[in-house]
């Protein structure tokens, strides 16, 4: 049975193709000059360059963290190229007609049509290709509602006050090694501003694609939901299948002002490497949001890709009565390694947080949940509920949970539940006895296990995520 499931898991990576676009790519290497050149390519104002350079100087003094339960050869930061953009993007196409059709085809192949007529109604997309944003759809419609949704490189020019005020305000420059690196060399990502009292009229999403070889992608996203506003945002990621590891080091900052609500969903499907662990993306990501009074931030993530994942989307519950949520599905197979979880920092009174995680490990992979719940002295009446469930497929994989709890307020209540289960022979037999093939059986059982998290995803993406797991599990049985 184990052998069958393993076979079923030996999936094809459908997004593994390479697009044939001519790119302008920096030679590998990192120094102040490279940073100046990135900044110049983007035509950035002086303050932005200074900010980058100061982050770079901090980074040089920092050490790569080694506490996560992941094992990979040290990254050679001088061997990476820090900027790559399709040449056709140089003259900044004004409309879709001017965008290189090969780029549009790339996204279409990935199931993200960018031509307005074909687009999913109700979802605006920012498409980031290597180091630049290619297009952002439905912008006019959003502008009518006062919503700003554009590449961050553009926001730096058009909305410098907002960017200056909030960039680095949630994740400080020297927060951690990868975050500092990102501050120095970030290239593109999305910027969102929702004005006071506004409910964003559509789902916003960003689709990240790495194409060029030997480049790193340094995504930077900043979302600001002003008082009483509401937004739902989704990001997706894929990369070609290559033998070398590639680095994706992102920083995402969310600001939820009083009574605002941000729902942030991720479907991460970076190339995971092959069966033996060759190739794949290193996904080292810092995501954090701050909640002011009665605000709510909800992180939902479905992580199926990357060879190494290091990621802890977190909430700082600063305002009284604010709410933080983290729902996660992390699937690892082959030689994938994931160390992921969340931090819920309770500062305000009656703050509430919920953590529900589903780790699925198969093959020879390693899947760890690492979470911190901190109740500060001011967090009177705060509550946390954590539930970590692990599902093991086969007996060569590992599942681990590292729940850290720090309570400095006696009135705070923290609950933690954890379970570990297996896809049992009985379950497989029942499914097959009813006529289902083993692949379908595994994916159905795994989907059932993840149901609590999938129901948190926006509808269209819940279906997508289910399918993704199905693809991920394809061939895992036979």
């Amino acid at each position: 049975m184990t052998e069958q499931i393993d076979k079923a898991l030996a999936r094809e990576y459908e997004a593994g193709f390479v697009s044939d676009v001519e790119s302008e790519t920096f030679a590998p290497g990192l120094d102040e000059d490279v940073i100046r050149r990135i900044s110049a390519m983007k035509g950035e104002p002086e303050w932005m360059l200074e900010w980058r350079l100061s982050a770079f100087r901090e980074w040089l003094e920092m050490e790569e963290p080694d506490w996560a339960l992941v094992d990979y050869p040290k990254v050679d930061f001088q061997a990476i190229s820090y900027y790559s953009a399709p040449k056709s993007m140089k003259d900044k196409p004004k409309s879709l007609d001017e965008v290189d059709p090969e780029l549009l085809r790339t996204y279409e192949k990935l199931g993200i049509p960018l031509i307005e007529q074909q687009m999913l109604a109700g979802i605006a997309v920012d498409a980031v290709f290597d180091s630049v944003s290619v297009v952002t759809t439905f912008r006019e419609k959003l502008e009518e509602a006062g919503v700003i949704f554009c590449p961050i490189s553009e926001a730096i020019h058009k909305h410098p006050d907002l960017v200056k005020k909030y960039i680095g305000s949630v994740v400080p420059k020297k927060d951690n090694y990868y975050a500092a690196l990102n501050c120095a060399v970030f290239t593109d990502g999305s910027f969102v501003y929702i004005p006071k009292g506004t409910r964003c009229p559509m789902e916003l999403s960003t689709y990240f694609r790495i194409n060029e070889q030997n480049t790193g992608q340094f995504e930077r996203t900043l979302i600001i939901a002003d008082e009483g506003s509401h937004v739902s945002y989704l990001e997706g990621c894929t990369a070609p299948q290559r033998d070398e590891n590639q680095l994706h080091a992102a920083v995402v900052e969310l600001v939820a002002m009083d009574n605002a609500e941000i729902k942030y969903s991720t479907v991460q499907n970076w190339y995971p490497g092959d069966e033996n662990g060759k190739g794949g993306i290193y996904n080292f990501v810092t995501k954090r949001g701050i909640c002011h009074t009665s605000a709510k931030i909800s992180w939902t993530q479905v992580e199926t890709g990357s060879s190494v994942t290091w990621k802890y989307p977190s909430c700082i519950l600063k305002g009284d009565n604010s709410v933080g949520e983290f729902y996660s599905v992390a699937l690892t197979r082959g030689r994938q390694q994931a160390d992921t979880g969340t931090k819920m920092i309770h500062l305000g009174k009656n703050t509430k947080s919920t953590i529900i995680t589903k780790g699925i490990s198969a093959g020879r992979s390693n899947n760890s949940y690492r979470g911190l719940v901190r109740m500060n002295p001011g967090a009177h009446g705060a509550r946390n509920f954590t539930q970590c469930d692990s599902l093991l497929i086969g007996d060569q994989c590992g599942a681990h949970t590292f729940p850290y709890v720090e309570s400095r307020n006696p009135s705070a209540i923290i609950e933690h539940e954890a379970t570990t289960s297996k896809v049992s022979d009985e379950q497989m037999f029942l499914c097959r006895q009813r006529g289902l093939d083993p692949e379908k059986a595994v994916s159905m059982i795994v989907n059932g296990f993840c149901k609590e998290v999938f129901k948190e995803l926006p509808m269209e993406f819940a279906v997508e995520a289910g399918k993704l797991l199905e693809i991920s599990l394809e061939g895992s049985v036979g």
């Binding site: 097959r432 009813r434 006529g435 379908k440 159905m444 059932g448 149901k451």
Partner: protein, 261 residues
Amino acid sequence: MSNTKSLLTIQDLHASVEEKKIIKGLNLDVKAGEVHAIMGPNGAGKSTLGYVLSGRDGYSVESGSATLDGKDLLEMETEERARAGLFLAFQYPVEIPGVSNLEFLKASVDAQREARGEDAITSAEFLKEAKAACKQVNLPVSFLKRGVNEGFSGGEKKRNELMQMLLLKPKLCILDETDSGLDIDALQVVAEGVNSQRSADRSFIVVTHYQRLLDYIKPDFVHVLSDGKIVKSGDASLALELEAQGYAWLQKEPAEDELEG
């Protein structure tokens, strides 16, 4: 009945699990439209027979044959046997948390339709059928939304097995103690479920410990399975005899060498 054709034919079947011999030379012939009851002491190998016929992993056939509709069952994968029309109602139904009954049932039905070259059933049509099946086995429709057997009581699980049978419309139904753990009403529900499905081209093997069920489902044959083989066969009256006398009179004297071992 003797001129109708055989649906299931088992000849001199020997099978083991974990290197332990359980089925030891079993013969059985079930013709289309017949109902066979199998009784026998605990540990005799009744459930094992069901698992071997449906191809559960870990159960290996050492010799003998089993055919369904003339096709060699033992050559097929578990799911192929199911698609060929073999259905097993489990003695101990297992839970699949988070997968709704409806989703599970529709996937099963669709997998079997696909194997027959038919299109998937529409959701609306299926829902209608599923609701009717719920009603027939006396389960509230809300059970369609619940996880497969998740938190179901013993009796509810058994009704759920029966519901699956109603929707899958198999050729050969093996009911493994579907009557155990049922209240009196449920017993009748199961019996009615079976009786409503009896037809000239559908056969049943009903494994039970109790004559009671056979009052409602009139079997064509009753067999006693003991120590891996059928030691006695008869008509419905055999069940009454067993009820009165137990199994001891049927069990052969242990051979000398078995005692020593």
